[in-house]
Amino acid sequence: MATVTMLEAIRQALFEEMETDPSVVALGEDIGVYGGAFKVTEGLLAKFGRERVIDTPISETAIVGAACGMSYLGLRPVAEMQFIDFIACCFNQVTNFLAKSHYRWGAPVPVVLRGPSGGGVHGGPFHSANPEMYFVHTPGLKVVYPSTAYDAKGLLKSAIRDNNPVLFFEHKFLYRRIKEDIPADDYSVPLGKAAIRREGRDLTIISYAAMVHTSLEAAEKLAKEGIDAEVIDLRTLLPLDREAILKSVKKTNKLLIVHEDTRTGGIAGEIAAIVCEGAFEDLDGPILRVTALDTPVPYAPPLEERFLPNTEKVVAAAHELAKY
């Protein structure tokens, strides 16, 4: 066991998968000599060489397209978006080429697209986004968004070993802020399975990524008031763990969904529909959501603070639910 940051856990997953499987290669902007904008790939080039760690031009479409082509010959490329915001530049490749490949003509695409995402670091409108829902809406992709160092490593390993295109979101606010003891030996965390971060019986808070920590903080405050919240970490957004969602709601009868993504079209809406379809009779109150505002991510600290969900907003929504 060793205490590592989430960033280090991701880095370990890359090193370990490349060490065990020569078909794993990495490509992206500034990932080689420089080691990546956040240093996630630091040391990778020195160890694995230029054939396996490829510094590319600033061409997201070429990066993702080439990764797809490589996968057709049996490689397992891991492509980095320097910031996940830039995935917008290769939207067509991701949604039309990679996502539809297996359905259309039976060609699996074992590609991982990973990159730093999320706000809270004053990155402004183009370095803070949470664009996961564009891709959750695209059949053929898998979308993973971990909240802990242990999960980040285990989920990335599963993503690399998966036969489908997996989008792997790494919340940059968490990169160096969370630390965890993780086992030294090889382990993986399955895709598509949610985790219960805190058991509770009064209400369910469903969240993912950085907002899991916000939700847990809120749950502790609520506990002092005698409200016992259960906190579910989705971990994978596509496929979504419907069972875990319904099971928890059937137990607590109240649901609050917290996400850092913007409100309209966020995954809260989808979860609400799942619960209405599968556990309507079990609900004792409305399904509430705490989300970011329906705006771009603003730059100035007070604006971004207003934009993002926080512990107080989660506690306030839980109080609202407690009235039922």
């Binding site: 020569p22 060489g49 396996r52 479409t61 057709y72 067509n92």
Partner: protein
């Protein structure tokens, strides 16, 4: 120089071109009988491009067709029934009816990547296939096509630029058929020869007569051999003409009649027939034998397609993900140890050639190349990495220009105008209220009265 084609090979070129044409001719009839489910795109007059280019590839090589490259699919070993059933959305088609037209492929045997409708995206993908082939030591070449119109997409640029920086064994055929749907090439690209696009990427290129199948084959063969030798990607412009509309519904009335007439006498199959006859490569008996064989084969293949069922509706639900239905196995043709530590480990530094200024390289620049950093991923394809082509000399001296001292500065009135946050203004009631309250708290001195925001 490549070896000349054998007698059989020369006849085979005719066979594929004629098969391509007769197959499409039959599909036009099927279309009129409402037996083609979606659109039908014709490659009439462009058969020499599809057949001549694909014929230059070896079995181990990879291609990815565009919509008008049915001939290439036939050369690569797909059967006419694959084309018929794809267009008729039959369960027996390579995609089981999930996609149509030339949107299919085969990773295992025919080494063909399925296209998507968005143009240019195959270029980075086939660059990736080429890079993976080199990495695995397979010594393969990849090839795809792009139209004159598609050469204006961002994916074309990103893909070809990446292929060039990687020196990928990749051949791009720029199929200039003069029309992007209804828009003439002159409205899309301000170049006489589209092959000149290659200059922007520092790669080799040439323009050839796309209606001369031997010229197309020869140019492609040379490019494929060059790529295999490790000399980097090649762009070949083939000049041809689309003899029908964009698809069956389009009567192509925007094409001047004189232009059709000009190209009609350059029909690639008629030209090649003439060549074969004049050079006494075949006689009338051989020709009629091939024609009869094509008829016979197409009868059989068309019958198969017409009698095939449509897919069962429930098929729509499956196959979005690969949940173990495929195994991912790379075909390694080099020792894996070469790409594993410690053998793969290098000193991770850049080799910087020149400091990038306009002046010619100084002594310091020449000495700046960092030793131990020349490990490049080009050797695995069996070829040596050639020296980079010399950079073109730039004659002009840079002249620093300063903006004029007057004329562009903010004018005084503009500078004094209050800055209102976006989304707020006179129609925003809360803003009106806040402004009024602010005025009142200042004791009604009337500042900002009547000002419009």
């Amino acid at each position: 120089m490549s070896r000349p084609l054998s007698h059989e090979q020369q006849l085979e070129l005719y066979y594929y071109m004629q098969l391509n044409r007769q197959l499409e001719d039959r599909m036009v009839r099927l279309f009129r009988q409402n037996k083609i489910v979606g659109g039908l795109y014709s490659s009439l007059g462009q058969e020499a491009v599809s057949v001549g280019t694909a014929y230059a590839l070896e079995k181990r090589d990879w291609l990815a067709p565009m919509i008008r490259n049915i001939g290439a699919l036939l050369v690569k070993g797909f059967k006419p029934r694959d084309i018929f059933t794809q267009h008729m959305a039959k369960y027996t088609s390579p995609t089981f009816g999930k996609d149509g037209t030339s949107h299919f492929g085969d990773l295992k045997v025919r080494r063909t990547v399925s296209p998507i409708s968005m143009l240019g995206d195959l270029i980075p993908v086939m660059t990736g296939v080429a890079m993976a082939g080199r990495y695995l030591g397979q010594n393969i070449v990849t090839l795809t096509w792009i139209g004159d119109g598609g050469s204006s997409t961002g994916a074309f640029h990103e893909g070809l630029n990446f292929a060039a920086t990687q020196r990928a064994p990749f051949v791009l055929i720029l199929e200039n058929n003069q029309w992007a749907y209804s828009t003439p090439v002159s409205q899309q690209v301000p170049l006489k020869n589209l092959a000149d696009r290659a200059r922007a990427y520092g790669i080799a290129s040439k323009s050839v007569d796309g209606n001369d199948v031997l010229a197309v084959y020869g140019a492609t063969k040379e490019a494929v051999d060059d790529c295999r030798a490790g000399n980097g990607p090649v762009l070949i412009e083939v000049k041809t003409h689309r003899m029908k509309g964009h698809a069956q519904h389009d009567r192509a009335e925007y094409v001047p009649k004189a232009m059709f007439d000009h190209w009609k006498v350059r029909d690639p199959i008629a030209l090649y027939e003439k060549y074969l006859t004049e050079h006494k490569i075949w006689d009338a008996r051989e020709k009629s034998e091939i024609d009869a064989r094509i008829d016979r084969e197409l009868d059989e293949e068309q019958k198969f397609a017409e009698e095939s069922p449509l897919p069962p509706p429930e098929l729509a639900e499956g196959g979005v993900y690969c949940d173990g239905c495929h195994t991912i196995d790379a075909d390694w043709r080099r020792p894996k140890e070469e790409v594993m530590p410690p053998k793969s480990s290098i000193e991770a530094v850049w080799a910087v050639k020149g400091f990038g200024g306009l002046e010619s390289e100084s002594k310091e620049e020449q000495e700046a190349e960092i030793p131990g950093s020349k490990v490049v991923a080009a050797g695995a394809n069996g070829g040596k990495r050639p020296a980079s082509p010399p950079a073109p000399k730039v004659q002009e001296k840079a002249v620093a220009t300063m903006p004029p001292a007057t004329g562009n500065g903010p004018d005084a009135n503009e500078a004094a105008a209050p800055r209102v946050p976006f989304g707020r203004g006179p129609k925003d009631q809360s803003f009106v209220r806040e402004t009024r309250e602010a005025r009142e708290t200042r004791g009604g001195r009337g500042r900002g009265k009547g000002r419009r925001h």
